[in-house]
C-alpha cells in the first residue's frame, strides 16, 4: 500500500495491529487481552523458567523426530504413488481421506496405543504432516514433463537412475512445498497432541496458564509458539525460493 507516495511494507500492518492490541489492553476492554507490552515483558520470565525450557526441549525434540519420520515416509509414499499406478489406486483414497480428516479425533486412540508420553506426540506430529507431503510429492512426480523421462531412457538410464537423477529432482519443488505445509501442520500437531495429553510439555503450561487466568504468560507462550511455527515454515520457504526457477522452466 502507498500513502502520500510512500510505499508501506505489508509487514508494517502487523505493527499497527500490535499498537491496537496495546491500546485495547491498556483500556482493559477485553479481559482476554492484557497490554502487549506486558506480554512482551513476561516473555523473558517465561523463557527463563526451567519448566518452559524443559517443555520446549521436549516439544522441539518430538517435533523434529515426527517431521523427519513424516518426510521420509511421505516422500517415499508419494514417489511410489506417483510412479506405480497400482499403488496410487490402492493408497490414493486413504491419503486423500486423511489429508483433510479431523485427525485431532485420532489423538485419543494414539494415547491409548502409545501411552501418555513423548511417543504419542511424535506419532501425532507424524500423522498431521505425512499425508500432505505424500500428496504433494505425488503431484510433483505426476506433473513432470514426460520428455525428461524419455530423455533419460534414450540415454540408457536404469530404473534407479531415473528415480534418483530425474524423478526426485523434477518433483523437488513440490516435495519442498509439501514439506513446508507438513511443517505447519506438524506444529499444529505438536500443540494439539500436547494439549490433549495435557500433562506434558507445552500442553501442560498452556493448561496451567489458562486455568489460572495468567493471561500475560499465556500470550507470551502463544507468541513463542507462533514464532516457532512461522520461523520453521519460513526456513523451508527460503529453500523453495532458491530453486524457484524450476517451476518457471516447467511451465514455460
Amino acid at each position: 500500500m502507498t500513502i502520500a507516495g510512500y510505499r508501506i511494507p505489508p509487514l508494517a500492518s502487523l505493527i499497527l495491529w500490535a499498537i491496537v492490541w496495546e491500546i485495547v489492553g491498556r483500556l482493559g476492554l477485553v479481559f482476554l487481552f492484557p497490554p502487549l507490552s506486558h506480554v512482551v515483558m513476561e516473555l523473558g520470565q517465561v523463557v527463563g523458567s526451567t519448566t518452559f525450557l524443559n517443555a520446549a526441549i521436549m516439544t522441539v525434540k518430538c517435533f523434529v523426530i515426527g517431521i523427519a519420520l513424516s518426510i521420509a515416509v511421505g516422500v517415499l509414499l508419494g514417489l511410489l504413488m506417483g510412479r506405480v499406478d497400482a499403488a496410487d489406486k490402492l493408497l490414493g483414497m486413504w491419503v486423500n481421506l486423511f489429508v483433510s480428516a479431523p485427525l485431532s479425533a485420532l489423538v485419543p486412540v494414539i494415547m491409548i496405543l502409545f501411552g501418555m508420553g513423548e511417543s504419542t506426540i511424535i506419532v501425532t506430529v507424524f500423522l498431521f504432516a505425512v499425508w500432505i507431503i505424500a500428496l504433494d510429492t505425488r503431484a510433483g512426480v505426476r506433473d513432470m514433463p514426460p520428455s525428461l523421462l524419455a530423455m533419460a531412457k534414450s540415454f540408457g538410464a536404469s530404473r534407479w537412475q531415473v528415480l534418483t537423477k530425474i524423478v526426485f529432482f523434477a518433483a523437488l519443488p513440490e516435495i519442498l512445498a509439501g514439506i513446508r505445509l507438513g511443517v505447519i501442520r506438524g506444529v499444529k500437531g505438536v500443540v494439539i497432541g500436547q494439549l490433549l495429553v495435557s500433562i506434558i510439555g507445552l500442553g501442560e503450561l498452556f493448561e496451567v496458564y489458562s486455568r489460572n487466568f495468567l493471561m500475560e504468560e499465556f500470550w507470551a507462550l502463544t507468541l513463542i509458539v507462533f514464532a516457532f511455527a512461522l520461523g520453521a515454515a519460513e526456513l523451508i520457504a527460503m529453500l523453495e525460493r532458491k530453486i524457484d526457477f524450476y517451476a518457471g522452466v516447467r511451465h514455460a
Partner: protein, 240 residues
C-alpha cells in the same frame, strides 16, 4: 478399501494391542450405538456449533477475502494477520476460549471460527488476485461498471478457489469442534470418545472416531458435488 478392512480385521485378531479391536467388533459397536441413539444424538450436539461456526466463518471469510483481493488498503491491513493465523497453531487458543466463555455453545462456535476463518479468507483473497486480468480488461472495455465487473467477472472466475478454501475450512472446522469437545467441553462426539475410552470400550471409541472422520470426508465430498452441480457447467458435462 476392502483390503484395508481385512488388514484391520487381521491385525485386530492377532491382536497387536489390547486397545486395537478387530474391524468386525467396531462395526458391531457402531450398530449398537446407532440403535441406542447415543451416536445420533452426539452428532446432533456436535453439528450445531459446527454449522453455526462454519456459516459465520464462511460469510466473514469470503467477504474479507474478496475485500482484501479488491482493495489495497484492506490487503495491507489484513493479509499478514491471516497469514500468521493460518500458519500458526491456533488450537493453542482453544483452552483459553473455553475457560473464558465457559463450556457452552459460544466457546465451541469460536473454536470452529478461529480455525476455519483464516484459510477461507486467504483463499478468497488469492482467488480474487488470480482472476484473469484480460477478462477484467475485457469487461471494462465493453463498458462494464465496477459492480458488473465484480459480480459478472471476478466472483465467477474466483469461485473455484473460493470453494477450495471452503473445503479446507470445513475440515479445519471439524478439527476445531472435535478439539473443543475433547479438551474441555464434555459434550457431543468428543464426550462419546472420552467416555468410551474411560470405560475401556475401545470398539465403541474406534467406531465414533471412524464415523466422525468419514463424516467429514463425506461433507467435503458433498460440497464438491454441490459446487459442480450449481456452478460448474463445464465440469458437469465432462462427468456426465
Amino acid at each position: 478399501m476392502v483390503l484395508f478392512c481385512l488388514a484391520w480385521e487381521v491385525a485386530g485378531r492377532i491382536p497387536i494391542n489390547v486397545a486395537f479391536p478387530p474391524f468386525s467388533d467396531v462395526v458391531a459397536a457402531f450398530g449398537r450405538m446407532v440403535a441406542d441413539g447415543s451416536l445420533p444424538s452426539a452428532f446432533l450436539i456436535t453439528l450445531q456449533p459446527l454449522v453455526i461456526g462454519l456459516v459465520v466463518a464462511t460469510v466473514i471469510g469470503i467477504v474479507m477475502g474478496v475485500g482484501m483481493g479488491l482493495r489495497d488498503e484492506l490487503e495491507w491491513a489484513g493479509v499478514p494477520v491471516f497469514v500468521v493465523m493460518q500458519a500458526a497453531p491456533m488450537a493453542a487458543l482453544i483452552p483459553l476460549i473455553t475457560y473464558v466463555y465457559g463450556i457452552g455453545l459460544t466457546a465451541k462456535v469460536l473454536a470452529v471460527v478461529i480455525l476455519a476463518l483464516p484459510v477461507i479468507a486467504l483463499n478468497g483473497y488469492k482467488a480474487v488476485r488470480n482472476v484473469s486480468p484480460s477478462l477484467r480488461a475485457m469487461c471494462r472495455s465493453f463498458l462494464g461498471n465496477r459492480r458488473q465487473e465484480i459480480f459478472k467477472i471476478v466472483l465467477p472466475d474466483a469461485s473455484p478457489m473460493i470453494f477450495a478454501g471452503l473445503r479446507l475450512g470445513i475440515s479445519a472446522g471439524f478439527v476445531g469442534v472435535v478439539l473443543a469437545e475433547l479438551l474441555i467441553t464434555p459434550t457431543g462426539i468428543g464426550d462419546l470418545i472420552t467416555y468410551h475410552r474411560s470405560i475401556a470400550d475401545y470398539a465403541e471409541m474406534y467406531a465414533v472416531i471412524a464415523t466422525i472422520i468419514l463424516f467429514s470426508a463425506v461433507t467435503v465430498g458433498l460440497l464438491e458435488r454441490v459446487e459442480i452441480a450449481l456452478f460448474r457447467p463445464e465440469k458437469k458435462e465432462h462427468s456426465a
